[in-house]
Amino acid sequence: MKIVMAIIKPFKLEEVRDALTGIGVHGLTVTEVKGYGRQKGHTEIYRGAEYAVSFLPKLKIEVAVASDQVTKVIDAISTSAKTGQIGDGKIFVYAIDQAVRIRTGETDIDAL
């Protein structure tokens, strides 16, 4: 079992969700986050005060899937979230030790 975590541009969420649904992924957690990478920030001006805003709003999505699904999920996300512009985000994959579905008590792969 793996978690595929991706940082994406906020307006790409619906496309990513559609792409994931298309390959049979039926669960997704989304968090609003801020951060910066190569995109850097931008400048905001309020009357005389200029602020370099280095943290930009992004979405963090997390999908828990069986290990053999990971490549398909990465493909789906990287295709649907891509604009080709700097700031499209990144994908990270890491292992899950254990999973439990709270309602039924099912564990591991059955709980996904």
């Binding site: 905001e44 001006i45 309020y46 009357r47 005389g48 005060a49 602020y51 805003v53």
Partner: protein, 493 residues
């Protein structure tokens, strides 16, 4: 049922009104020599209605207009504190105005401040008449009391923007009563107190009617006494239609002095301090603009053609200033910001305040264009160069815009530039215009205001600092004044 009652009650009233109108028409038609009927000033219901409406409009400028304008511009953690300070100002000044404020501002006494003869509105009843700017036209004195109250209430509220986000509420609670008592009421008295048109007109007519030298001398002395019964700045010949000096320069310089004495916000220049809600600030700006028609056009004290001119000027000057600030910012900073457009509107409104009933619309447009650029430069470059922390640009907009407007009023009043000229109630005609004379008077008025308010406010800040302390601790300032002063927060999410 209600309709029936209305009709049955309304018809006789209509009939009565028609009769009165007919009688008035007959009076007009009768070829009576002027002054044959020594009728006292009469009250017109339309004037009274307009003045009540103007009063409510100016109240709308302070709560909610100014409160939301300021509140939107501060950080979220200080939103409620700024609104609370504006509300407090309106509430406490209302009570003080009733107790002694009106009396200190608008009774005779010295040329610097009035007396206590109308404290607790003593002698101001339903029958009391207040003068306007037309001979023979009066409004109920009570409506004048209310209208002027809203000016006294909003002026100290303007100041709090300069030291927003870093002054204890208890300091504001002490500062505002002291400030209106020792700074505002004398200023209002110096600029606006005079005997009124009817007194001047009557004395001038008495002089004209006097025949033998002794009577002439007595009448001249009486006229001089009436003319001398004015505030000091008024007696210099300075004109201020709706409060450029009394309200805006006065509050603006007090704000600058406050920002300097209180010191910068913790983290100023190093941390992000962007406005927490520009939509809120924009709602506030819009309420200010609409309310300002009460402020400027209401200052004519009656519903007359000049009231319409003041309204026209209150339309065009802020529009011009919004555009000039917007294009200046676009050129210099690369983007035309909404806050820039809104700031231009406020700067234009400030500048046209003293000029509203004196300038022509063309003059007001030029005034707006110039003010928008000057205030833009002031708030964006000069403030940063000097390095003081005037949180919401009270000085850069109200004092600088007010000074531009006050001096420009002396130029734009010129009939040759489309202005109204200055009416002389002694001769009953528009007086000869003198550019140097009028501008000198305006500059004197500005200087007196800056010194009076600047020095006086500095003393009051020091007194408040000794008694309750101006600043909260750094920890409390960082936590935010909403929680530490008021125990509540604006948003829960």
């Amino acid at each position: 049922m209600k309709m029936k009652t209305w009709i049955s009650a309304g018809l006789p009233v209509l009939a009565a009104t028609a009769l009165v109108a007919a009688a008035a028409f007959a009076q007009d038609a009768a070829v009576a020599p002027p002054d044959a009927v020594a009728a006292g000033p009469s009250i017109d219901k339309a004037d009274t209605t307009w003045m009540l409406l103007s009063t409510f409009l100016v109240l709308m400028m302070s709560v909610p207009g100014l409160a939301l304008f300021y509140g939107g511009l501060v950080r979220q953690k200080n939103f409620l504190s700024v609104i609370a300070q504006v509300f407090y100002s309106v509430a406490v000044v209302t009570i003080i105005w009733f107790a002694y404020g009106y009396s200190l501002a608008f009774t005779g006494g010295s040329s610097f401040v009035g007396g206590f003869s109308k404290a607790f509105l003593s002698g101001v009843g339903l029958e009391s008449l207040g003068g306007t700017f037309s001979v023979g036209v009066a409004i109920p004195e009570l409506v004048f009391v209310l209208f002027q109250l809203t000016f006294a209430a909003i002026t100290p509220a303007l100041i709090v923007g300069a030291f927003a986000e870093r002054v204890k509420f208890s300091a504001v609670v002490l500062f505002i009563p002291l400030w209106v008592t020792f700074i505002y009421f004398p200023m209002a008295h110096m600029v606006w107190y005079w005997a009124g048109p009817d007194a001047v007109d009557a004395a001038a007519k008495a002089l004209a009617a006097a025949t033998d030298p002794a009577a002439k001398e007595a009448a001249q002395a009486a006229l001089d006494a009436v003319l001398a019964d004015t505030g000091y700045i008024f007696s210099l010949g300075a004109i201020d239609f709706a409060g450029g000096t009394v309200v805006h320069i006065n509050a603006g310089i007090a704000g600058l002095v406050g920002a300097l004495i209180v010191g910068k916000r913790t983290g100023y220049g190093k941390e992000l301090m962007p406005p927490h809600s520009l939509p809120m600030a924009l709602i506030g700006t819009a309420l200010l603009w609409v309310g300002w028609f009460g402020f400027n056009a209401g200052s004519n004290l009656e519903a007359a053609p000049l009231t319409v001119l003041a309204s026209l000027n209150t339309f065009v000057a802020p529009a011009a200033a919004a555009l000039s600030w917007m294009f200046a910012e676009w050129l210099v900073k690369g983007k035309p910001s909404l806050l820039g457009i809104a700031s231009g509107v406020v700067a234009g409104l400030v500048a046209v305040t003293p000029a509203a009933g004196f300038a022509g619309p063309g003059g007001s447009i030029v005034l707006g264009l110039v003010t928008g650029v000057i205030c833009f430069i002031f708030c964006t470059s000069i403030k940063n160069a000097i390095g003081y922390d005037d949180s919401l640009d009270v000085f850069g907009v109200h004092c600088v815009g007010g000074i531009v407007g006050a001096i420009a009023t002396g130029i734009l009043v010129n009939p040759a530039l489309g202005g109204t000229g200055i009416y002389d109630y002694v001769t009953g005609a528009v007086a000869e215009y003198s550019l140097s004379g009028q501008v000198t008077a305006q500059v004197k008025a500005v200087l007196i205001t800056v010194i009076w308010s600047g020095v006086g406010s500095a003393i009051i800040y020091k007194i408040v600092d000794v008694i309750v302390g101006l600043r909260p601790s750094v920890e409390r300032e960082r936590e935010g004044l909403d929680i530490t002063d008021h125990g509540e927060r604006a948003y829960h999410s």
